[in-house]
Amino acid sequence: MDGDAQAGHEFVDHMSELALRLRAPAFDALLAEAVRAVGGLLVAEAGAEGPGATRTIEVVAADREALLVDLLNELVFVAETERWAPQGIAAIEATGTRARLRLSGVRLAGTPSRIKGATFHGLTVQASGGQVEAEVILDV
C-alpha cells in the first residue's frame, strides 16, 4: 500500500474496473487518503500544469459508504469540468453523514476522462482494531 504506516491505499485487480482499497486510523483520515489516491490518478492521467486554487468540498450523504462515494464523484466532477485535482489536504471535518474538506490543488493540463465515477458495487467501510478500512470500485 502507498501511504504512511497508519494510512494508505492500493489499487487492486478488478476484471473491468478499478478497485481502490483504503485504510486509515479514523474515518476522516480515510477520506483524506481517498482524496490522495484519486488526486494522484487524475494528475497521472491529465498532467499538472501548475498550482491551482484552494477549494472547499462539502458532501452530505445517508451513511459513511455513500459519503465516500459522493466525495470521489465530486472530485471526478470538478476534475472534468474545471480541470482541477487535489494535491493536499489543509483541513478536514467528517461525521458519518457529512464531510467538509479544504483542499489545495493543481491545474490539470488536460481533461481527465479515465475515471467516470465511483460506484456502490461491493462498497464497504469497516472499522476494526483501531483501523478503518474501505473498498470502492471506480468505473473506468
Binding site: S16, G110, R114, G117, T119, F120, D139
Partner: protein, 476 residues
C-alpha cells in the same frame, strides 16, 4: 473467483442456473456460452452478479448473460434482464454509467488496398479532428438551449447544423432520437459535463477504427449493408461521456435513498432501483433517454469528422454511408408477445429480425445489423438479428469480445511498447493512445471474438455477415 452454483447445459450454446440455486432468486438465469467460454465466465463474479439480478422485483424469466459476459458492477457486463412495465423496476446500474455506449459502422465503398498508403495520414487527421483521451480538439461547445435540443432530439438536432443527414437517422437505432427523453430530468451538473464533449471519444475501450472487410459469410445481407470483400469500413465506438456518467451517478444515489420506501431489498447496493412507474423510475427513464440521445449525437458528430478527414486526405468528397448504429447500454420499453417490458441491456445489443417493425426498411429482408467489435488488432463482425432472438433472448445479442483479463493483469502480461510493436508488425497504424492504454486494451486482455461470434451465430441470436480486420486505430 465466483461461488460455485449448480447448472444444467440445455444445449451446446446455453447453460441454465436453476431458480433453486440461491434462495433469493425469483427466476432462473441463462448464459449463452460453449464450454470454453463458460469456463471463462465462471472464473470471475459474473454468475454471482447475474443471480443478483434475478432477485429484482418484477423480473421476467429468465435473465441472460451473453457469451462475452464478464464481471462488472451491479449487473454483469453482457447482462440482459426484462421487467414488467407495471410491476417491475428500472435500475441505473442495469444500464451502466456510459449510457448508450454503442457502435456504428460506416461503409466507404473504397478498396482498402487503395486506401492503405494513406492510412498513416488519415489516422493523423482523425486524431486532430476527434478528441480522444484528455484531448479537446474537434469538440462542439453547446449553449444551454442547444444542449437541451440535443438531449430532446438526439441526432435529429444535428440536421440543421449540417452534421447529419436523414439517411444517417434512418440507419440509427430508434432513428437516433428517443421520444421519451426529458431534458429537464438531467441535472445541471450532468449538463455541465456534457456542454463541450459532443464529438469526443473519451478513454478506455473507445475507438475509431479503419478496417478492411476480410470475409463475407452472407452475401445477401452484406449487399444490403453495402459491404464487399476488400473494401474499407470505419467502426466508431463511444457513448454519452461525462453527461451520461453523471446521470447514472445522480440516479443511483436518488434510488438508493428511496428503495426502503418501496420495500426493495438488494444483494448489491449498485443495483439501486425504483418501480418503473414510480416518480423516480419515470424521471430516470426520461433522463436516461436524454443521455442516450446525447450519445447518438456524439457518434453522429464523430461520423461527420471522419467524413471530413477522409475528404481532406483523399482530396475529394467520399461517400461514407452509415450502415447502422446500435446501442450497448440501454433500458428500452418494448413489446414482447402480449407484454410491455422494460428490457435492460448492459453490454448487450438489440438483435431484431426481419419481421420486427423497428428494423429499418433497408434491412427488412435480412434483419437489423448487429455490430460486434473485437479488441485492437483482432477481428470485428457485422451480423444481422433474427426473429428467433426475440424468443430466445428478448431480441438481444452480445456487444463485443468481452474482457478476459483485468487491466493490471494485461499490463503485466505484455508491456505497452510490445503491444504497439505487435500491432505495427500486423500493419495496423495506432494513434491517440499511450503505451499504458495500449497494454490495458491489448488483444490478449479479451476473449476470442471468433468464438464469441460462433456462439451467438449457432445459438440463433444473430447471423454472421462479414468479418473485418483493423488497419488503423484511433484509441480513446
Amino acid at each position: 473467483m465466483s461461488a460455485t452454483y449448480p447448472f444444467t447445459r440445455l444445449d451446446r450454446e446455453l447453460v441454465e442456473i436453476p431458480q433453486t440455486a440461491r434462495a433469493d432468486m425469483r427466476v432462473p438465469a441463462r448464459v449463452f456460452a460453449d464450454d470454453a467460454l463458460w469456463d471463462q465466465i465462471r472464473g470471475d463474479r459474473t454468475v454471482e452478479q447475474l443471480l443478483n439480478v434475478t432477485t429484482l422485483p418484477g423480473v421476467i424469466a429468465p435473465v441472460f448473460a451473453m457469451p462475452d459476459a464478464h464481471e462488472g458492477y451491479g449487473f454483469p457486463v453482457g447482462g440482459v434482464a426484462a421487467f414488467g412495465e407495471r410491476d417491475g423496476i428500472i435500475s441505473p446500474g442495469g444500464v451502466g454509467y456510459d449510457i448508450n455506449c454503442g457502435v456504428r459502422l460506416l461503409a466507404t465503398g473504397m478498396a482498402a488496398e487503395a486506401l492503405r498508403p494513406q492510412v498513416p495520414k488519415l489516422m493523423h487527421e482523425l486524431s486532430r479532428r476527434v478528441a480522444s483521451g484528455t484531448g479537446r480538439g474537434g469538440r462542439l461547445s453547446l449553449e444551454p438551449a442547444e444542449l437541451d435540443r440535443v438531449l430532446a432530439e438526439g441526432s435529429r438536432a444535428l440536421l440543421s447544423r449540417g452534421l447529419a443527414a436523414e439517411d444517417d437517422l434512418d440507419h440509427t437505432e430508434a432513428s437516433g432520437s428517443l421520444q421519451s427523453a426529458e431534458p429537464d430530468a438531467v441535472s445541471p451538473r450532468a449538463k455541465q459535463r456534457g456542454r463541450d464533449q459532443l464529438g469526443s471519444l473519451g478513454s478506455g475501450n473507445h475507438f475509431v477504427e479503419v478496417q478492411v472487410i476480410g470475409e463475407v459469410f452472407d452475401s445477401e445481407a452484406a449487399a444490403a449493408m453495402g459491404l464487399a470483400v476488400g473494401d474499407a469500413a470505419v467502426l466508431i465506438h463511444t457513448g454519452s461521456r461525462g453527461l451520461g456518467h453523471q446521470v447514472c451517478t445522480d440516479y443511483v444515489r436518488q434510488m438508493d435513498a428511496v428503495m426502503r420506501k418501496y420495500g426493495i431489498r438488494l444483494p448489491d447496493r449498485e443495483l439501486a432501483c425504483a418501480p418503473f412507474d414510480s416518480p423516480e423510475g419515470t424521471r430516470y427513464f426520461g433522463a436516461m433517454c436524454a443521455a442516450a440521445n446525447y450519445a447518438f449525437a456524439n457518434r453522429q458528430v464523430i461520423t461527420q469528422r471522419v467524413r471530413e478527414a477522409f475528404g481532406q486526405v483523399l482530396g475529394k468528397r467520399v461517400e461514407l454511408r452509415l450502415v447502422y448504429d446500435v446501442a450497448h447500454n440501454m433500458a428500452k420499453l418494448e413489446q414482447h408477445g402480449r407484454e410491455r417490458l422494460i428490457v435492460h441491456r448492459k453490454g448487450a445489443t438489440r438483435a431484431f429480425g426481419p419481421s420486427h417493425p423497428e428494423t429499418p426498411t433497408r434491412y427488412r429482408a435480412v434483419g437489423q445489423p448487429v455490430l460486434i467489435p473485437g479488441s485492437m488488432g483482432t477481428a470485428s463482425y457485422a451480423l444481422v438479428g433474427t426473429d428467433a432472438a426475440l424468443e430466445r433472448s428478448f431480441g438481444s445479442c452480445c456487444h463485443g469480445a468481452g474482457r478476459a483479463m483485468s487491466r493490471r493483469a494485461a499490463k503485466r502480461f505484455k508491456p505497452g511498447h510490445e503491444v504497439r510493436q505487435a500491432l505495427e508488425d500486423q500493419g495496423v497504424v495506432v494513434t491517440g493512445a499511450g503505451n499504458q492504454e495500449l497494454a490495458e486494451e491489448a488483444p490478449h486482455a479479451y476473449k476470442d471474438v471468433d468464438r464469441v461470434v460462433d456462439v451467438v451465430h449457432a445459438a440463433g441470436l444473430a447471423r454472421r455477415v462479414a468479418r473485418l480486420a483493423p488497419i488503423g486505430v484511433l484509441k480513446g
